[in-house]
Each structure stands twice: as C-alpha cells, then as structure tokens.
C-alpha cells in the first residue's frame, strides 16, 4: 500500500501549523494512492500528539520517543526519521519547509538515495508518481517536477496548503518506533530569541512590511503598530535591513524569506524584482506608495496611492475599531 508519511514538528506541545498543512495535503494524496496517512513525531512527548495528528487525518502516529530528540540536531533526527521510514515504508514523505525541515530533507534523501523537491506549493499523485510545482527564478517561472524513488520527498511551502480538520477524525494509533540514539558530531549550545513574542514572517497569515519610504529606523513603529493591531508579523525590504533599521530575520525577498501569507501589506516599498520574488505569491496584496508608477502596484490587488505616514495610522485605528466589534 503506497502510504504517505509526514514528518511533523511541534511548538508548545502542539503540531506546527505548517505540519498540519503538510498532513492535510498528505491526506489528499493518500486518498489517491489508496494508502494510509501516517505522521512521525520525535521527542520524549511524541505520543501526546496522537489526537492533534488525528484531527488532520493521520491514521497512525509513529512516535520516536527519546530525550535525545527533544532539541533538533541533524544527525539524531535524520536517524530517527530514517527508522520510521524503514518501519512504515511510505511511497511519499512530506515535511514542512521550515529551517529544520529543509535541513533534514536533503540529508535524509542522500541517505536513502532518493530525490527531494523543495518548497513546493502544489502536490499531486498521477500515474503512480508524485508531482509537484515549485516557483523558480524569483517567481518568473513555475517548474513542474516529477519525483521518483521510494519514498519521494517534498518540503511544503508554509501557507501554500490549507490545514483542514477532518470531521470525526479520532486520535491516530500510536506506533512506537524503537530507537537507540546515535553518536552525533554536533550539538546545540544555545537558542537566542531576540524578539520574544513577536510573530515570525515564515508562517504568519498577515504580514505588514515596510520599506525605505519609512525614511528612518524609528518609523518602523508605524509598521509595528499596525502589525500588532491586526495580529500580523513585521516584514521589511532589503533596503531597510541594509540600512540597519531592522533585523535580517524580517527581510522578505530573494535574499530574505519567501512568504505567501493570506494578506501582505507593503508600505513604502517600491517593488523591486528581488522583493517581488519573496511575496508575489501572497494571496491578497495591498500596497501603499506615494508614487503611482511604483512597480509594486503591478502585483497589488488593492493599491493605495498616498502617504504612508497618514494612511498607516488611520488604518491602525480602523483595525482597532473593527476588532472591538
């Protein structure tokens, strides 16, 4: 039976959103292959995710329970997921295109001698093969790829697939994977979280981004205020990052992050090709720019020609009012 296995990551004891998205597209693939959908979770609390994984359609949860897997290291997690693959023998292995997913997928693929498609935004099963769509050359081209080998591996672009709860989806059956930690050559010394509590652009549903039109570092407060009111993350153009106004973590674009939120608001951003590469696949794009000829308007669904210093505060007020109702 050509089963689908999804490597799921957790945050605060719950499945990450991108893992739920991967499970949901995995479930659709499983309907086509006629196989089972299973999740693999690693770490000492792995089995506690059975209900969460079940909600998103997983029939089984491969739990690799070991304290050695509580923080991510390439060597340990690769060995653990490889063990689950050997046990379940899936046709397809999916994982969210997170930092760890993108660290793990190629390492595991080389161990298994199979192929990977990175950061895919569509997936399908046709003629017994996994097919995927990827955006390449800064979004100037879509490539359709066929992934052969067993399992065929893909990492999913955050927000590209919707996470769908399955009606009546009970908890997944827990299958314990026997695992002996391997000797690894690297260790995690420290995790630094600079802006605790701030949403990250990678998985946010709404992103408010600022560009050089903000004029100076302190004016990022206009962006932060709106982001905070609307419940979104703060993004930035490279020009503002290079100027030192904001940390690189926030940069959207070719040399920053590629994002595809539901709503992307660009204020004071001209829309250079390298910026568009990072955000043009957003579902709803709103641009605020005082130059009616700014290239950002070519990709904007709603373009507002005007001064961000008057429009952003008005918008923040309106959002607060709307939320109060």
């Amino acid at each position: 039976m050509p089963g689908i296995l999804v490597f799921c990551e957790t945050k605060d004891g719950k499945l990450k959103k991108v893992s739920r998205e991967a499970l949901s597209i995995g479930r659709k693939l499983a309907e086509k292959t006629g196989g089972d959908l299973a999740a693999v979770v690693v770490g000492s609390q792995a089995a506690s995710l059975a209900a969460d994984a079940g909600h998103y359609g997983a029939k089984k949860l491969y739990a690799v329970e070991s304290a050695a897997l509580d923080s991510y290291t390439t060597g340990q997690t690769t060995a653990a997921v490889k063990q689950a693959v050997d046990d379940f023998k899936p046709s397809v292995l999916l994982m969210g295109g997170t930092s760890n997913g993108r660290d793990l997928a190629p390492r595991l693929a080389a161990r298994l001698g199979v192929g990977v498609a990175s950061d895919v935004d569509q997936l399908d099963w046709t003629d017994g093969k996994l097919r995927a769509r990827r955006s390449i050359y800064s979004g100037k081209v879509f490539g359709r790829v066929e992934i052969s080998g067993t399992p065929a591996i893909a990492t999913t672009r955050p927000n590209a697939f919707s996470a769908e709860v399955v009606a009546g989806g009970g908890a997944a059956d827990v299958v314990k994977v026997s695992f002996t930690p391997v000797e690894v050559k690297s260790k995690l010394l420290e995790t630094k979280t600079p802006e605790a509590g701030e949403l990250t652009i990678a998985e946010a549903d709404i992103i408010v981004s600022g560009g050089r039109g903000l004029k100076e570092a302190q004016n990022f407060s206009y962006i932060r205020d709106l982001a905070h009111a609307i419940g979104g993350a703060v993004g930035a153009s490279r020009a503002t990052v290079d100027a030192g106004w904001i940390d690189h973590q926030h940069q959207v674009g070719q040399t920053g992050r590629v994002v595809s939120p539901n709503v992307y608001i660009a204020a004071g951003i001209s829309g250079a090709i390298q910026h568009l590469a990072g955000m043009s696949s957003s579902k709803h794009i709103i641009a605020i720019n005082k130059d009616p000829e700014a290239p950002i308007f070519r990709v904007a669904d709603l373009g507002v020609v005007g001064d961000l210093f008057t429009i952003l505060p008005a918008l923040t007020e309106e959002v607060k009012k709307a939320k109060a109702h």
Binding site: K185, H284, A314, V319
Partner: protein, 259 residues
C-alpha cells in the same frame, strides 16, 4: 586550515528568463551568468579563514564550459586553487550534483566545505546537506556567523524568529546565509594573479563516477510555465487617509476573509 568552496553559476538575478523550446529548460541564449549570490558569502568566509590561519581555498564547480569563468572570478577574489568538473549539470538532479562534488572533495584537503544556502534561481537548498551526508560529516545550514577553533567550529544558524548556536567537529559542511560577511570585490592585482593559476579540469569519469550515478534523475522537470501576469488590481487615491483606511478594511474583510 583548508577550505573547499562549492560554487554554482546562475543567471543574473535581473535577467529576463525565457523558457526553451523543449519546455523543460530555460533558454540560455543572451543570459548573463554570475556566481550565485550566497556562494559569494561562502567564498568570502573561506578567504578570511585562510588570511587568519593559512591554508588553501579551493573553489569547485560542476558545470559546462561557461562555468570556468565563475572559477576565474573566485580566484581573482582570493581563492588559491580551482577545480572544474565539466559536464551538463543541468541534466543532473541535486543528488547527482552532490555525488560529483563529494567525489571531488574527497581528493582535496578540506577542514570546512562551504556552500551557499541555496543556488539563486532554482532555490533548492539541497546540495550542501547532501554532500555532508555523502562525506559523513556534520552540517550547519543557513549560517550567519562562524568561529573556527581547534578541530571544531561554532556557527550561528538562522531559524524561524530565532538563532541557534551550534558546535560541531571538523571536517564540516557550512551553508552560507546573507549577513555572514560583506564579500569583497576582486582587485586588479587579484585579477592579474588569478590568470596564472591553472584550473584543474576533470570529467565525471575521472572522479570514478558513471553517467548513471550522476545523470539518473530522481527529480525531473516535466514542464516549465510562466505564471499568469498579474494585471494589477484596483488603485485608489489615498489623499483622504480615513476613507482609504476604510477601503482597505473592507477589502481585507470581504476578499481575504480576515479580521
């Protein structure tokens, strides 16, 4: 301290990309090729290590004839050796490329093997970790800061909304992220000196690999397509900020179904 830097040659990021007649490749005619931008951070870091601790910086690429130019540019910036494995790398998938590079690296002294976090254009981000696996060495990906000590390194790795500090033994694979350093330009002296350095040119067979090791594709492009040109949506005048704000809210509510 010896480093190997794997570099790929990619179309200039400003290029207009045209799909070739077969519908599966891009049309290379008239394209300007550059060293992939992330590979520049990788190269710069290796050169700085050499300047601090001595040793060689060998740049390696697997690609067609045109890739020799990319190696020349790296030599001009300060790499000390270059190896060109000639072949149609576009017809190999990432694991095929990784096998070629791993075979080449095994013949070279290496304490650290540097890559870009991804090749700009195809944006796979696969080759570095695949090579690390084939060489059985640890990897740290998306690195923004690096310190190299005795037999080990400490690297800062960018993750979602945070940074991890990872220590690992040498030899190791590092994939470079923007922010790692500020790459230098080639000096005239460097350009002249680079001309005297021979490029070690090899074939896939010279490395003991068969075509089926390299060109058996596990990931194949079945078709390329140009995204539907966005026509640009509605444009409104923002002279009245509160009216504009109300329009935006209406749009977010009704179209995006958010708020």
């Amino acid at each position: 301290m010896n480093s190997v830097v794997c570099i790929s040659q990619v179309p200039d990021t400003e290029s207009r990309i045209k799909i070739a007649a077969d519908g599966k490749h891009i049309d290379e005619a008239g394209l300007k090729f550059i060293v992939s931008p992330y590979d520049e951070f990788a190269l710069e870091e290796a050169i700085r290590l050499k300047e601090g601790k001595g040793g060689d910086v060998t740049v390696v690429t697997f690609g067609p004839d045109r890739s020799a130019q990319a190696l020349r540019e790296c030599l001009a910036r300060g790499a000390t050796k270059a190896m060109h494995i000639k072949g149609d790398s576009v017809d190999a998938d990432s694991l095929g490329v990784a096998r070629v590079l791993a075979a080449a690296i095994r013949t070279l002294p290496h304490d650290i093997v540097f890559f870009g976090k991804q090749g700009v254009g195809t944006d796979n981000g696969l080759v570095g970790p695949m090579v690390a696996e084939l060489l059985d060495v640890p990897q740290v990906n998306v690195v923004t800061h690096l310190e190299v000590g005795d037999g080990k390194l400490t690297a800062h790795r960018e993750i979602e909304g945070a940074e991890e500090i990872v220590e690992c033994s040498l030899p190791a694979v590092i994939t470079a992220q923007k922010g790692l350093n500020e790459p230098r330009y080639a000096s005239l002296k460097g350009i002249m000196a680079a001309k005297k350095i021979p490029i070690d040119t090899r074939s896939v067979a010279d490395l003991g690999l068969t075509d089926s090791d390299v060109f058996h594709q596990r990931v194949t492009f079945v078709g390329l397509e140009t995204p539907a040109e966005k026509s640009g949506g509605r444009k409104i005048d923002g002279a009245d900020p509160s009216a504009a704000a109300q329009e935006i809210i209406k749009y977010i509510r009704e179209e995006a179904k958010a708020l």
